[in-house]
């Protein structure tokens, strides 16, 4: 079975999101693999370990600096990495999905992978749109926010969290799935796996698309959320406050 995993980079949790002259200051941002993508990759590698003859390829539409993240992906068990080069780095989910589709076609030709795995969303822009868009573009079913995955023959049994409950879903290959936290516990990179990853290829692929973006980020600014905190001395005062604000129904 061929499994494709789509990865992106996001600022790590220690990165400083600052602004210089009204623009995002990228100098104090350090990028790592999107945490949701780690779940997607881990699931792909688990499937590979279960189903003989499987092959995991990771794709990332990103600048060349993403190589380090791809190395980590290889150390985590991917067999091959493809860095998708674009002339300008797209931020529009539709364009990203188009690039990914082209990259998949370039790598797999006629026989598309049985499974495409993505993270539920990136933690920086939080669009959560690319996986379903890619599903539509590839003409495959898609399920977003998968928390459990089980394969039996040609069928996939999935669970996904919805408000107040869980949906149990059955579908056939091929499919595009996006991973939610809880799907698995990503493994650690071991010394051996990092050593071996250095022997695996990172392929560069340049693709172009003609289409224009669906949405355009017309402004970005710091989000000032500081409030003046009013300190309360007694529990009673707090209850009175709840009552005043109408929190007791």
């Amino acid at each position: 079975m061929n499994i494709a995993v789509c990865l992106c980079q996001v600022p790590d949790s220690a990165s400083v999101i600052g602004f210089v002259d009204g623009a995002l200051d990228r100098s104090r941002i350090n990028e790592v693999m999107n945490p949701y993508d780690e779940y997607a990759l881990e699931e792909a590698v688990c499937l590979k370990e279960r189903i003989a003859g499987s092959f995991v390829t990771v794709f990332s539409v990103a600048p060349p600096s993403a190589k380090e993240m791809l190395r980590k992906a290889l150390a985590l068990g991917a067999d091959r990495a493809v860095l998708v080069n674009t002339i300008t780095e797209p931020s529009d989910p539709y364009l990203i999905a188009l690039f990914l589709r082209k990259a998949l076609i370039a790598c797999y030709g006629e026989v598309m992978p049985e499974l495409v795995l993505c993270g539920k969303r990136s933690t920086d822009f939080q669009h959560a749109e690319v996986p379903s868009m890619l599903g539509e573009l590839l003409g495959m079913a898609s399920v977003s926010g998968v928390t459990s995955l089980d394969v039996s023959g040609d069928n996939l049994h999935l669970e996904r969290e919805i408000e107040g409950g869980t949906e149990e879903i059955t579908l056939h290959f091929p499919a595009v799935l996006s991973a939610e936290k809880g799907l698995n516990q990503p493994r650690k990179t071991t010394v051996r796996s990092v050593m071996e990853a250095r022997k695996k290829p990172i392929d560069l692929l340049t693709v172009t698309v003609e289409e224009t973006p669906f949405v355009f980020m017309s402004s970005i600014e710091p989000y000032e959320r500081k409030k003046v905190c009013h300190f309360i001395e007694s529990e009673k005062e707090l209850v009175e406050l709840f009552a005043k604000e109408g929190f007791f129904l």
Binding site: P11, S13, I17, F19, P35, Y94, T123, D124, F125, Q126, H127, E129, V130, S132, E136, L137, M140, A141, S142, V143, S144, G145, T147, R160, I162, E163, G164, G165, T166, E167, I169, T170, L171, H172, A175, T212, F214, V215, F216, M217, S218, I220, E221, Y223, R225, K226, K227, C229, H230, F231, I232, E235, K236, L238, V239, L241, F242, F247, F248, L249
Partner: protein
Amino acid sequence: MNKYLVFLEQREGALKKSSINIWNRVQEIAASEPGSTVTGLIAGPANILENASLFAGEGVVYHATGEDLRVYHQQYYASLLVELMQENYSALFFADSSLSRDLAPRLSVDLQASLLTGELHTDKNGIPDGCVRPLYSGQAKALFAPQRHVRIYNLSPLRGRVAGFSCESHIQVLPIRLPQTGIDLLLSEVRRIVFRENSLDIAEARIIVSGGRGMGGREGFNMLEELAALLGGAVGASRFAVDEGWRSHREQVGQTGKTVAPELYIACGLSGAPQHLAGIVSAGIVVAVNSDPHAPIFQVADYGFVGDVHLVLPKLIDAVKEFLKKN
């Protein structure tokens, strides 16, 4: 002049209040735009009368009553909406939910429509022209503008209670059928939905009582359960509490958890890492209880209580009980 379509989500036959909120919001927009119309769509059997009084304004609500649509099927729902959108709607509105997040991106591609997620942004005439959304753990916010004529808005929950803004509403319900074309191969099928017993989802809760590292362990959350039950709210948790296995991931608030918009958020024994604060940008009143007066949570809190949660919460619970008994 715009034609707006609002998707009214039902679950178990009941219309979601968040959807009705969006309907009413769109009615407000249409009211300031002469000639504009608002149309609704309900997929699946639902009891509309139950909530009819909550609807504001006037318009047609299409009701596709087929049993096939009772639970969410990506493909059925998509073809229903794609078919309906052929009637030249300029915008389709969703209330953000696990359903809309699964469906809207596919529709966006199929309809070649701009998909906008977040809080609705309007131009000086009150006409929708994009969405504002926090990015980077809520440390920045950005305005996204559509680049296509047709738009799909997936709107974050509007805080506050559902209420029609005029008592005179004229809703006409018209039944429609699921189009049978183009659905020969069923790609995915929801076998069943397992609902958790009497659990309010934090994404929909009015009040959330949330706990972090300071709760000290699984048992500490019992106090939060009790307080939440008294207030009619849900229990939330920080990433630490979830990673420690104290609480389930579905309760996690923040960057790798849920974004919530309660009217009241009570943060207990959690320091307020940026990743957690990212999840509560849309919360109304924030109350923080923490023993460290320098904890960052106090910077985004309206009310603060400096003290050990293990001492403060039992007293708070007692005070709430006493209040409820009296009133």
